[in-house]
Assembly symmetry: D2
């Protein structure tokens, strides 16, 4: 049996742990009757036939390693049907390489965009299994994605560290947290870090309400405030813009990112001293936390077993702490967002956390 | 409104975060119309009227603090109906103090034993709300308990560190992991730490099978092996003993704990060099991890809201990532154990992890 | 005996550990014969008589706590001789409060600016002892300052995390590291984090040489590069500007900080994909690392002993791993900078690290 | 040029970082004119000609990796002159292999025992450079050894975690800390972790004084106490035994290690509840801390430069924060111990820490 494997899109923690889970299960069940082909830098490796024949020892000792031993790259789904610079038909190339290499299936560790492509390959007749990779937790069909909890830990640590300096000095601190177009990471890290205000893409903010919340805290004698702002957070005005208008707005604003914009605005509205921290890509790096390692190991084992049983065309996810198989066609193109009416948002509001709405 | 609060039994991470969640919610909803009474060292404080009137600032800055600001102690349930050394009727004393202090309800952060007592108080007519505290995760009626994930993180870190030295030297390492009479902590930390063999109370081990697994690894050229053994793990022979026989056996064996016993046995059976690590109570200490802080904050907010609405007699838990209320009478006296047939154990076996069974 | 104590300037880790060291030593040597007065928010508390009589238990359990239990504020030295908004003579006020409270001495935990003021108070006849606080390590008269190693750890962790994502994607990453006008923090964290290029205030960079170093790495097949840039780093052109010109330049450039400027420039010069991370104040927060706790405890014990012996007018520092006492007049107004010819810079260059010079 | 390299004795953190420092410097200075031979599992690899020709990429990405990529083993110095089971003359074999492989020098990362052997090889005419590896910090000729600070961090974390549970419950906790026959690790971790009592091999304890210190704390209202005990700690009675008597004593006592013995004794003498934690080998594992990585990189760079300049026969160490070269003959056979009269011990006593003496 020959199994192809690739990691696609933005990297995150626990990619290696997941691949190890799949591989160890395959080796344990099939011994010498399985060979794993690792494609280099995601779909690029499959398109251009850049791969490596993996050995059991390649998967040894990688449970705790950050990044991906295969490398990754972004290959936008919307360009998949467009020939490359040399006129190569990418989809055909992937199918040809799959066949030429005698693959029985392809395991794709990827997020939203990557699973759209994996569904396309499924439609083209390939045997595909998807595994839910992303710190954004925005993948439809699974409660959690691997990388998410590790990123929460790092984002929370940043807020924790800023907490002690904020408390000592009496200032407003704004921490910009990753998460692409959704607020999962900011919501969790904001609550875990004890943020006073949390701004999410799903709940457009009114900057005056943000300023009011800061002034109220000051009036209550609280010497400092912490705002956790998602990199994709938008104001009510911005939310009302067309996509094109918003794009233009972002390009023209004199700030590298939203945290600096919010910072300047609340400074003007409240007169309080403001500092900004943008930990950036560090949130997707470093070693996976134990939660993610258990998740990855379980998902990997389940995927390994499905390969042996010949069950293809699914994303392997986690639903209510049990493995779930969701047809890739049901996953592709959907985005799992934070609901403003979710119990978790409501519980945060019960504590007095402001969402600026 | 007057709300009593206490932390009971063995301490764990996130006790303070949970109390903060309850308190912040109450202050946010009721402002000056609520007063919180904190009992010192668990039920002892309620029995002997040792308490402190809490202020909002007492709950400030404790989200990340380990331990419990109220202190804790073990007050075995089976002795609750027995008068103390001075002839005091403890249950009556608790009821009297509850009434004398004008309490509207009592919030009990505790594990299995403590919730038996909280149910007893409920039966006696008090308004009680339970919150699921324990690193052991053995509480019936909730998927997870706070403290559990933080303890997994510390136990896993111990295994991680031992991994590098094991790999460098080529040895067998045995790490003894807490968890009282159940294997949840060892199962999770063992998988997260990449243990080769996992020994749990729920799956009695055959020491010869453990030795065989070690010898098999050696034969395959693997230079080292890691055994994660639960402090409550037992062999098949021990499992066959009566409770009394087993107690006598433990008292008489020349080892302070099970890891040393397993260590000696596999040394004799395999001839391999063996080292033992017993990180002990460090696993229940230190600051709560972000996962636990989110969990504690949500549970605390839910409990706060229930108090305001007058819903009593429940353990507040988490079921499928949503808050759940379970009648205390359904929780008391039950133990949530790892099922040997659970999907998680099966997934671990798929990877080749041995449970010595 | 009455001892005043204050923490002044930007906060850092290990302030509490240091105060604990002083206090525990005083209580241990003098028992009830000593009383400690804690001034709130640094010199502000001394000027406006805002203080708290400390108890032994105030210093208990704070060894690992970030921030400062006394609060801090910046009171610029150059304004000390200027009356405040109400015409108050600040220096006179400090002297008066010192006498009125019957203080035998004043312990000042502070950095460069704060120790200038402590020297001024010494000149005015007060008994002062300085303790070297700063993550910048720029204090003259001591090999190390407390806070420095803790900040190195956090800055290094940021680089570590970015390393795995950089390696997976093949990109240039720029991490902006604190340190005010000196490069100690960036030099240490850069080496510890395996940065390829390190830019320091003390070694003005030539952006073309930075770009050359990046291109060389790309040519050698290295898929990514990491630049550690000090927040005070400057180019050769900027170093040639007058102070006024440079200030104007910084105000007018369309970047919130140097990392974004360097980022834009190398992107243009190399065509490589660039990402920026600015962890900011998180570097001065969180709990002190064990190295700092030992340092703080030793410095605090030495200061406590000096108080009992009546030795005043010194900064207590560490020289060659032994306590040293340096007259405050020798410390005030001096800045300890990284020498471009220091052995550590040379050793870094031996490894192939570029400083862009 | 051909450079041999090996890691010998008990492993520790930062072995890989040190080798990387040497290798990167050699490649940077000599480019293709250098080849590094890595011997497998320490001197064993040199004796039995088990080696690997290293490539630059072997040293890439290992700065943060725990353990050693070459493996290690203990080859006791006192058996070096004894032929092996097959009659092989080990010293001759090492010399022969050195010559046969055309080595210009041999770099030995090792502790006390290993550097005795490296000195022996020097006496036999080989070009040797030693690098100071050990978590014990007992190597003569250098202020610090790599691994030491990383081990302090882990041992301190264990004490930290135990602190919160100790404080919540009111108990005596004993943490056994590594360090072989010296007390450096326990002294530093004990101070950093806020231990109340510290027991070191260099300061034999009187168990009654230990018990007195515990009782005094209890009398002062302190609810808990923490004892940091070095694995090599001994009582005054044990210190008075002959080496043979002591060995017999240890073999016959019903405890796996000293912490359990002290635990039982203080329990009997004070009646207080006692718990024991033995984190064991985890203290030498995991990734090196930034302090060690800087130290290792500097030592490695210095060693690389010395190799190029042809300076052999030295241990490369750190003295007053600068690189120092100490003749191997001055290092071999000496042990750097904690002096009971050192300023650090005195400073700890100033704070009220008891050493049981």
């Amino acid at each position: 049996m020959r199994v192809g494997m690739l990691t696609s899109g933005g990297d995150c923690q626990s990619l290696n742990a997941t691949m190890r889970g799949v591989a160890k299960t395959l080796y344990n069940l099939l011994h010498d009757d399985v060979e794993i082909i690792g494609f280099i830098e995601g779909y690029k490796g499959l398109i251009y036939s850049d791969y490596k024949i993996m050995k059991p020892k390649d998967f040894s000792g990688i449970l705790t390693e950050g990044g991906t031993i295969l490398g990754t790259s972004r290959q936008p789904f919307k360009l998949m049907r467009t020939p490359d610079a040399n006129g190569l038909d990418k989809v055909k190339a992937m199918k040809d390489n799959y066949k030429r290499l005698g693959l029985d299936c392809l395991v794709v560790l990827g997020g939203n965009g990557s699973q759209k492509t994996s569904n396309l390959l499924r439609e083209e007749g390939l045997n595909v299994i998807g595994l839910p990779k992303t710190i954004d937790n925005d993948l439809w069909g699974t409660d959690v994605t691997f990388g998410f909890q590790s990123a929460i830990n790092l984002a929370t640590q940043t807020i924790d560290c800023i907490h002690t300096t904020a408390a000592s000095h009496g200032r407003v601190f704004i921490v910009e947290i990753m998460g692409h177009k959704v607020g999962w990471l900011t919501l969790h890290a904001g609550i875990a870090g004890g943020a006073d205000i949390i701004l999410l893409p799903e709940i457009p903010y009114d900057i005056n309400k943000v300023a009011d919340a800061l002034k109220k805290r000051e009036k209550e004698g609280k010497r400092f405030s912490i705002i956790a702002v998602a990199e994709g957070a938008i104001s009510k005005e911005q939310a009302a813009m067309s996509k094109k208008e918003y794009k233009k707005y972002v390009e023209e604003r004199p700030y590298p990112s939203v945290a600096y914009e919010v910072g300047d605005q609340v400074k003007k509205l409240t007169g309080q001293e403001v500092r900004v921290a943008v930990p950036g890509h560090m949130q997707r790096g470093g070693e996976p936390c134990p939660y993610d390692r258990v998740l990855s190991t379980r998902l990997g084992a389940a995927a390994g077993k499905m390969i042996v049983k010949g069950e293809f065309g699914y994303l392997v996810g986690m639903k209510n702490n049990e493995i779930t198989k969701v047809p890739l066609e049901d996953v592709a193109g959907k985005l799992k967002m934070v609901s403003p009416d979710s119990s978790m948002v409501k519980e945060a509001k019960l504590l007095g956390i402001s969402f600026g709405d």
